[in-house]
Symmetry: C2
Subunit: 377 residues, 2 copies
């Protein structure tokens, strides 16, 4: 990041003193107001909701409020910087929720990184919320935490680092394939990184019809010989031809490279191993797995990154606001794989004629959140 952006951001945050404010929805100017908003009138509302819990969506903040919850264990590309370090990011995310989709969202950062404690805490504080966005929780803990919280609650719960990323990657990939004239069912997709994002990208691509996905982690190509449960699960639906080796073996003849592992992954020569009209998404922030010009020299036809200063920014801000907006509006209780696919298709459809430099809509395109929200009805 440019030094001046860092300086400006620090100055802005100091000036603001936090990015989130609470506003009462109704004024309390006098005793008449007070008697309705608070005692004695509120007692009638409390009794009504206590007797009919399903009415909480209509009569309380539960119908509109999402909790953005992090334990600070995997914040941006900064790693395990803890609860307070995560807080500015969560506040920013809540600002985007409101700005892009009118969703009220509040950050909760946790003073624990123990899986059981996190699961219990999230379940314990859930009643007031209509949805839960888990955020920046490290892999593989994020998988168990999300699974257990989803099972326990009847509100939408989503770990955005997994599924927000996966949905927007799929949307970008579908439009990139249009640009190069290839079909998802026929391409070989290499995913570098088997953490939160990589795992979810693999799963949604598979669910969308991709048949030849090869995943890489630090040990190389993931295959059936792996013993960790999470890697075993990935091996179950990827690497159909049992390829062994590392990045070069995976890339040889591949159509798509999706990097969600960190800078320094590949050079132009590696990209040259890929099939013609290759697609490269290098999503590490701020430094991508391969810089766009280097990927281009390797022959990539469509290149996407997580950055706003290159074409094709692939950013989950295109998804999470509209997804929770839709879930709240339509009373969705679980964010299923089907819902995620619908969201990806809706996002992709907003770009009528994708080109090599425009596979996704702009983040500030006002149609985005509406289209995503509508899609998951």
């Amino acid at each position: 990041m440019a030094k001046d952006v860092a300086k400006l951001a620090i100055a802005l945050h100091k000036k603001l003193g936090g990015k989130i404010r609470i506003m009462p929805a109704a004024p309390v100017r006098n005793r008449a107001d007070l008697s309705l908003v608070y005692t004695p009138g509120v007692a009638a509302v409390s009794l009504l909701v206590a007797k009919n819990p399903e009415l909480a969506r209509e009569y309380t903040m539960k119908g509109r409020m999402v909790a953005v919850i992090s334990d600070g264990s995997a914040v941006l590309g900064l790693g395990n910087i803890g609860a307070l370090g995560a807080l500015p990011v969560m506040e920013g995310k809540c600002a985007l929720f409101k700005t892009f989709a009118g969703v009220d969202a509040i950050p909760i950062v946790l003073d624990t990184q123990d899986t059981d404690e996190i699961v219990n805490t999230v379940i314990n504080i859930a009643p007031a919320f209509g949805g839960i966005n888990l955020e920046d929780i490290s892999s593989p803990r994020c998988f168990e935490i999300e699974r257990r919280v989803v099972e326990a609650l009847d509100i939408p719960v989503m770990h955005d680092d997994q599924h927000g990323t996966a949905i927007v990657v799929l949307a970008g990939l579908l439009n990139s394939l249009k640009v190069v004239g290839k079909r998802l069912a026929n391409v070989r997709i290499v995913i570098s990184g088997a953490g939160a994002a990589g795992t979810a990208v693999a799963k949604i691509a598979h669910a969308a019809g991709a048949k030849n996905i090869i995943m890489l982690d630090r040990k190389g190509i993931i295959d059936a010989t792996r013993s960790e449960p999470h890697k075993k699960e990935l091996a179950g639906f990827t690497n159909p031809h049992g390829i062994r080796g590392g990045l070069r073996e995976a890339l040889t003849g591949a159509d798509v490279l999706i990097g969600v592992s960190g800078p320094g992954l590949a050079k132009a020569e590696d990209i040259k191993l890929m099939a013609k009209k290759s697609i490269v998404f290098a999503l590490a922030n701020p430094v991508p797995e391969i810089m766009p010009d280097e990927a281009k020299r390797g022959g990539a036809a469509v290149i996407g990154t997580g950055r706003s200063d290159f074409p094709n920014q692939i950013n989950n801000s295109l998804i999470f606001p509209g997804l929770f907006r839709g879930a709240l509006d339509h009373g969705v209780k679980k964010i299923t794989q089907e819902i995620k696919l619908k969201a990806a298709y809706a996002l992709a459809a907003l770009v009528k004629k994708p080109t090599a430099v425009k596979v996704l809509p702009d983040m500030f395109d006002k149609r985005v959140a509406k289209a995503v929200a509508k899609a998951i009805r």
Copy 2:
């Protein structure tokens, strides 16, 4: 409560869909805004705060945000109506925090009533908050929960049903004593109810210099023969003359009756047992322990209730907004008994010449929160 107030309150809540909204403190109109509020700029703020946790008060919402936390076990006079039943009350309280003192506050209602779970959950979610207002948690669990959370955290934590009530009662009592020309050190104070409010009232009155406090619970006057730890503690500093019996024995010759136990406590004949120029605070809501006209017939000189439709409304809305405002502004880490006393004195001092029908300022008096906040510097 009048039927039309209930109807109006229900209609208002349905129209609003909850009483709390989130507003971003800075607009996100374009990529330049986004790069400061969110990535990449926010990373610099996250690193700064992670390395210097004390800066969270300046750079994040922690400097201004209070969590209002309830398990729904003792909501208003409605009893144990659970988390969702409590939510409208907590939202109302958050609206008052903002309206009266500019404090940002968010409701958290808990899906557990287990003491250990509550303590762990509150501690786990504390990092983002500059203060914690525990609310409507039943006695005696509220004492242990508050004690353990206060010990664990370095932010102000207060169970408002105890201390907010106690502070405003002490302020009202001090001014009532002025009206009748008596001194706190010399009067006999009878407190009916040894739950959250009664216990805290007894403790603050004792700390302020009251020497003769008699407490009653369902079993009668509390004395040294009681075995429960909580009642034993109360017996340690109350009932100095070892009086035994019930309400009539306690009231005979007493100067002050404070009811925090529920309707149907006393009649005019009981009040007649008290000393001349007696003071009666009947604080149960909506039906007081004794109606003001009945207390008057018994000879009470100053009468207070929790209701807005009688003179001398004794309501903790006079305290909690200013108290947390002051604690946030002045970096207070524990709300000590000394701070509570200062708040009570500051509130009482706002009524220059107390009369029998005006012992406390009006809730909408804009000086109140400021004076309370300033007092606890």
